[in-house]
Symmetry: C2
Amino acid sequence: MSGSNKPSSGQKGGLEPPGPGENPHTDLSRVYSKDLLPTAGGESLTCKFFQELVNILMDYIFKSNERSSKILDFHHPHQLKEGLEGFSLDLPDHPEPLEQILVDCRDTLKYGVKTGHPRFFNQLSSGLDLVGLAGQWLTSTANTNMFTYEVSPVFLLMEEVLLKKMQSIVGWCEEEGDGIFCPGGAVSNLYSLLVARYDFYPEVKTKGMCALPRLALFTSEHSHYSVRKAAAVLGMGSDSVQVVPCDERYPSVPSVPHRSRCVQGLVPFYVNATAGTTVYGAFDPLTAIADVCDRHKLWLHVDCTGYSASSVTWNPHKLMGAPLQCSAILIKKRGLLQECNQLCAEYLFQSDKHYDISYDTGDKTIQCGRHVDVFKLWLMWKAKGSEGFGSQVNKCLENAEYLFKQLQRRADFKLVFESKPEHSNVCFWYLPPSLRGLPPGPDTNRRLHEVAPQIKAKMMEEGTTLIGYQPLGSNVNFFRCVFSNPATQHEDVDFLLEEIARLGSNL
Amino acid sequence: MSGSNKPSSGQKGGLEPPGPGENPHTDLSRVYSKDLLPTAGGESLTCKFFQELVNILMDYIFKSNERSSKILDFHHPHQLKEGLEGFSLDLPDHPEPLEQILVDCRDTLKYGVKTGHPRFFNQLSSGLDLVGLAGQWLTSTANTNMFTYEVSPVFLLMEEVLLKKMQSIVGWCEEEGDGIFCPGGAVSNLYSLLVARYDFYPEVKTKGMCALPRLALFTSEHSHYSVRKAAAVLGMGSDSVQVVPCDERYPSVPSVPHRSRCVQGLVPFYVNATAGTTVYGAFDPLTAIADVCDRHKLWLHVDCTGYSASSVTWNPHKLMGAPLQCSAILIKKRGLLQECNQLCAEYLFQSDKHYDISYDTGDKTIQCGRHVDVFKLWLMWKAKGSEGFGSQVNKCLENAEYLFKQLQRRADFKLVFESKPEHSNVCFWYLPPSLRGLPPGPDTNRRLHEVAPQIKAKMMEEGTTLIGYQPLGSNVNFFRCVFSNPATQHEDVDFLLEEIARLGSNL
């Protein structure tokens, strides 16, 4: 791979030998996007342009997998906006040559964040699954929309196959289950609330919230904020969310009245339970919550995966490592999603088509056009099999346990929870020399609260590893390490701790 | 490009010469996804796999640009599910070799729809911009989320640059304007309604619709169905939508009362005007509607582009040809989007970061994670310049005019509107021999209504071209041709008409 500032041009070899009369040594500094296909005779240039692009992308993938390369080359917004080393964000009036376009591609990657690097722990979405990536490239090339079978026959069938598989894994029988892939888990959670409301009060679709009693929904204080956000968006208001307090890591089982009983003017209808909370990775007491919901006729939504509820949000772009975005909402009761959202626009969902229009699933969604997020997951499933996903997830859990054990035996770190991690999240503080041995109390806590942000700031400047931090409840700022990257090995976990200790040694 | 059923393997040349000790002739039928990177020593195989993939994708792009190739090879759902020529949609327990993965990729494309084909007229999103595609491939490779500057520094700055440019084009001054890229135009429209409601009634965020008067919003009968859908989702109910009737193509200017005046229990607050309706491509009388909204203190949203309103939905994945998805909502009043949607989750949006956190725009959205939809548009803008987009759009309008002229002079077709197209939409009927010269009336109409679906069914079976149809108001099923594909030439327009005539000649 070329390390020079310009993409190599005129280099031998290619994706395809040039056709007769085409010049393989086209100078990319003299040609423009208008010279590519669909312009007649643009085949050779198109190949050359994509070959150069793929060289840049492969180079980036290789670097992302080298432990010695930086995860990020941090610059403040104003620095990037000023135009570093000629990298200008400005939008021109006149076209720029393809060579410059390739330079822009390389610069974009240069100043970005290598989320596939084995030492990137900042988000639960990390790693770069290469079969998933191949799936994304194909999806982009196919460039179609998920609204009708007419334009997405294969992808819609793949969605059906995936949803059925996921439904069987959460434990629903053949006759149950519906669902749709959504732009992210927050939107999947929104769908659950939308559909639950419609199931109990179908008049909401036409008459709105004014026709309904005031509703109450229940979720734990450690659940994802998207549940509250959805309540606000859907016109229920965030006050309708009854926050169930957590005892350290777990919520108490909510003492929800029966759905027919209105308490303080609010009618309960929906409980969100979390299987793997965002920060701590803790599992709500699902069986006990499911019992309550069953007895009291409430809709149970499980945010994450693995339980039999009325609806489930499942994000393959997290622990399963599918490239972003890939999230599904599963709804147990068939037909509800369609009824709730359909408006039967005739320009798109004609009823006099010559094929089985049950595959025109676009009217199930709150969108119109919908990005194809299924193919990469389908392709990954083919390439790994169910067993491959299993061992990949186990590896993440094993890494979490390894980190936990390292933290246990080090005096310069302190675990937020003394017990073994339930999931791939491990939460901990770093204790700089100046704080070790201090008596616990507000003053120590105040100082400890400042440690993680200071280390994080240095970490971003150095770019050797990346991890997130936050406070939660009475716990001042602590680091949260989440494992989802199959590239991560024990040596990377060791490196993370050494690096935090090094960056925090003089605090 | 190989035309055989298996991807060529052991072929010479490649993206990268193999490293020492690596075998360049790896047999892809014996290796699996686990042998790719991040597995140590996986560089050579990774290159080989992507080279084969890119060969398949380039082959597809070439075929998409060949007029003689089929747009689709149609099969009914049950046929595809049964497994055509070994193409199985089933998800396996055990991994399949990389060679099979590549075969699956080719089969997926084989049974899909070539939306970039010069004779694909089925949707307003058509064509395949190759620089945009390059942008998508890079975006997928970078595999990050748009929620914070921490993980998306460059992409968030590009979003800012694009939004500012788009705001200046719709006519807002430097101090005005905010916005966000959304998963599709329907969601952009939903944002406009969400933010308008919050602007007038900020209490809705916490207290919900029950705390508000019953609201009314206005939109024309030809506007996109996403406005009604958004009203249902947001808990206003679709009954709150006051549908303004259209006189053939244009809505009357709605006689909306002042926002302070409640009529029949409803308080007006929002008017949606459409700049280019979905089917007819007609422009609502924007100036007159803007006057009414200004006088009556109503929120004016313009769905599409090009007018100074309180908010604007702009879909670069339509006429501008950006690959799917690429849609923006622009909000004139700065800060509103943040206030309306923010919940300040501390695990993601820490306030003690060391950089300017105004670039952590994730809390402006109703999502959490957000796909990077900006880079492809940014890269296209670099490659074309503003002028390049201009001439591309003009080409589409010119094609529409050409089609209009051809239809005018043919006796076997009838235009829905006798006047010149305003936009890139042209609507028309085909009159088969048996219907020509019949007196207009319900019987003729009933028979004419069946013509378009019958031709469309044959068209899908033959796969030579693709165009949509629908009824609208009193107009029975007619074809709608929309131009957005830069590959389309006059000869393709001629072909479309000849093909419709051929397929419909014996009806």
